[in-house]
Symmetry: C3
Subunit: 215 residues, 3 copies
């Protein structure tokens, strides 16, 4: 398979898993079927639309490639019927979200590099692609985005690591399809382990004086 084909497959897989995470959150919040479709589309397409607007690739892929619409709709329909299989909706949602995080930080970084952005900028855009859909999902469903939750397990750190590996490998002779796939899997595993082990990043030091308490 060509590099292009592998990247495309990773992107389509990312659409499917992110759409599923959005649909599962909608089911969990007891939204109706319309809410399920909307959260599925928003989660799957939000990060990529943001990425395409920023690099100036308009209309975004979501509005030119019909697979970008059909795949999230299929994921929403499947979730609608299959969700009772999952005993723990929140955890299952987070697993699908982790898969999307891994896939989109890789494909987002690669597309930014293709459009001539510098390495640091491509990494930032890769992270934006990966976390954008989930943040829009959380804001729309009125959840605190995992990105900035207090005492959250590591979320954007795995995406940043994956994006950095891809950007670094881009300047080497390493085969990109293998690097991209490995990075996506590694980010997924990193995120899942961070959730299970409750790995957290350090917080800023507080004196504990009452005037520092949230007010």
């Amino acid at each position: 398979m060509s590099a292009r084909t592998v990247i495309d497959i990773l992107e389509l897989a990312g659409l499917y898993v992110f759409a599923t995470s959005g649909a599962l959150m909608a089911v969990h919040q007891r939204f109706d079927v319309v809410g399920i479709v909307i959260l599925a589309l928003l989660t799957a397409l939000g990060g990529g639309i943001l990425r395409d607007l920023i690099i100036g690739d308009t209309p975004p892929a979501a509005f030119t490639n019909v697979s970008y619409l059909v795949i999230p709709l299929v994921a929403a329909a499947v979730t609608f019927f299959v969700h009772p299989v999952f005993q723990r909706l929140t955890f299952t949602m987070l697993v699908f979200d982790a898969a999307g995080l891994g896939l989109f930080c890789v494909t987002g970084t690669l597309k930014a590099l293709d459009f001539g952005l510098g390495s640091l900028q491509a990494v930032l855009l890769g992270i934006t692609t990966a976390v954008g859909g989930g943040v829009l999902r959380d804001i729309t469903a009125r959840q605190t985005p995992a990105l900035v939750q207090v005492d959250t397990d590591l979320y954007s750190i795995p995406a940043a690591a994956g994006a950095a590996v891809v950007a670094a490998a881009h300047h080497t002779a390493l085969p990109m399809p293998a690097v991209a796939t490995a990075a996506a899997v590694a980010v997924f595993v990193f995120r899942i382990v961070a959730m299970l082990r409750h790995w957290t990043a350090p917080r800023a030091w507080h004196r504990g004086a009452p005037d520092n308490a949230p007010d």
Copy 2:
């Protein structure tokens, strides 16, 4: 009147009614005059700016056509003085919102078709144009967007139906001004009846096991 003129009139009417709905929510939330102007502009212009960024028509119409700024400002000023006439602010706000929904799902779809997007994509963009401003209004005013409320009456379904009718008619010899106007009115009536009769879309099935309760 030419087709272009009719579409322009529908668009300007949409700006007026959406701005009024934003201003009424600001009055209802007891925001000050600045908050009223901001919510009026955001509700009226948000969906169209999003649409124009996505199709790559920059700067968006809101920043090139001065009517796009003047009309929402007039609507905000009128609402500021006239609102005590309305006994029920929330209901009145929803009526103006329904009118905007009907007008913008039609004009958004037509603009997307004009820019060469496919039918399915044009429908999605029409819905985005119609619901975008209202979602931004609700998020900024910290309301749960009607789009995803639990047990909400139908909101995006009427917009989707109107957008689909317009996209279908686009490939026929039907006169677009008449189709566009009829579709906008039909969406408005559909949405109002859905509110009054509390029509809802089906929700996903839950076993009722406690682990499926929101946690």
Copy 3:
């Protein structure tokens, strides 16, 4: 110094102070180090990215000029270590936010004029640039945006005044570097005094009937 250099310095100063305000809110909310970096970047870059997308200058400066990333990262790191110096985090955050408001309403208006927008549109875009990052910061951190808070002190009025002065001076022979710097300082002072004196804008009149109460 050339006019361009002065504007660039104002822009970079705006990035630093807005990033600091974002980092301080993250510290105050007890977010971890990742949350601090994200809120710093979002607050500093959000308004400018929105401005650049709207005028069609893609990729936005934030993704082409590496200073736009380095400066907020430095501000986040400095805040992480230095914040215990500040006795009152919220007030300090608002002071940095006021500085960013002044700087970005000026640079945003000038960039819009450079890209050929009309005066009214340039003023609106200047306000958008100035308030955009702060609104994204507040929504992401689940605060009510200062923009629309009930009984808020004046926030967007100073930004609108500064943007209007810059747009008016643009058509005169006045030296822009001096005008821009003076306008930025005046907006900062205006906002700070408005906070200390609790200046508010008028609210819409309510009859006080119970059906007008928020419901």
